[in-house]
């Protein structure tokens, strides 16, 4: 199983470069052109990253979550979850940047190879920002009655998040 994870990236690179050469694309110049776009994209998301790191850090540092979990303890009882993972799971479908900021926090505190580090990585990878995509796509064509789109999308996210927990326990 591990081998698939290990060879996915090199195989993609080989395939892309090989096919590019075969189709007589100027691979080097094209690479530079794309890389420049990537640079611009990254700088474009910088303000959002600053904003989200700022808000998430205040929220996590205030330890208000410990308080909420204490309140909920009689109800959820015994479930041993790291405090950071809950808001991350909740925020994932809403804002990719917010959950990225939490993942960053988790890596900083526990390291990327810890159990919670693995869990947060898979959580970040298992779904897209459903609410944002639905809002953007439907508003672009002025559809207001979206029927069951949101619920099905959130249901899919929920399944993805549950699978992230299960798979982390299974794999690591």
């Amino acid at each position: 199983m591990e081998i698939i994870s290990k060879i996915a990236l090199p195989i993609f690179v080989l395939l892309i470069v090989f096919y590019g050469v075969k189709k007589k694309v100027n691979v080097y110049d094209t690479f530079l052109e794309g890389a420049k776009d990537g640079l611009i994209t990254t700088f474009n998301i910088f303000p959002a990253i600053i904003a989200m790191i700022f808000a998430i850090n205040i929220f996590l540092d205030s330890e208000v979550l410990l308080f909420i979990i204490k309140l909920l303890n009689p109800f959820i009882g015994g479930i041993n979850l790291n405090v950071e993972i809950i808001p991350m799971a909740i925020l994932r479908p809403i804002s990719g940047t917010a959950s990225l900021a939490i993942m960053n926090e988790i890596f900083q505190k526990f390291g990327p190879d810890s159990y919670i580090g693995m869990l947060s990585s898979i959580l970040q990878g298992c779904t897209d920002t459903t609410i944002y995509v639905i809002a953007l796509y439907f508003s672009s064509i002025k559809v207001t009655k979206i029927k069951h789109a949101l619920w099905v999308g959130l249901f899919a996210d929920f399944v993805g998040i549950m699978m992230a927990f299960i798979l982390t326990n299974l794999f690591f």
Binding site: I50, I58, S62, M103, V133, Y137, V143, K147, G153
Partner: protein, 195 residues
Amino acid sequence: MVSYIWAFLIIIGLIYSFFSGRIEVINKSILANATEALDLILSLLPIIVLWTGMLKIAEESGLLDKFAKLLNPILSKLFPDVPKDNKALGYISSNIAANMLGLGSAATPAGLKAMSELQKLNQKKDTATTPMITFLVLNTAGVTLIPTTILALRVAYNSGNPEIIILPAILATASSSIAGLTLDYFIRKKKKKWK
């Protein structure tokens, strides 16, 4: 939506820390925050730039289109209401293909075009059609083969095995897509019965 959540996080965090006496910690963290954001963006930057460069080659050489064509037979099954030669299917497959390769910025334009093509087939312009919903479910489940940002961050924090999460992440996202599509399928069937 994001605006409310952002404000909520800040306001709740600050008010609670006034009561809990953690305001000093917050004070320090506000000042350190911006640097942390810069560190984050700097650790993401190299792999994003590298990967967008790679994918540009895939785009120019037609590999992305080829990849999209592979998806076509599956797509025509998922979208029985869309005519087989409709442009929408092409846009949908390039959207999904771009998403799979972690090329979000190329996925969005294709996705928006797919939506406007689907809107042309729509009888009631303010109401979502079934193909639109199926497309969004497929899209939001976000099947990503190469999760570049996550890999970048794992590398930045000296992970011994940054790529180990790829397979479990693919499995998680695949089950989320399948679950979404199944639910969507049953809702569609049920609605047809009511009619």
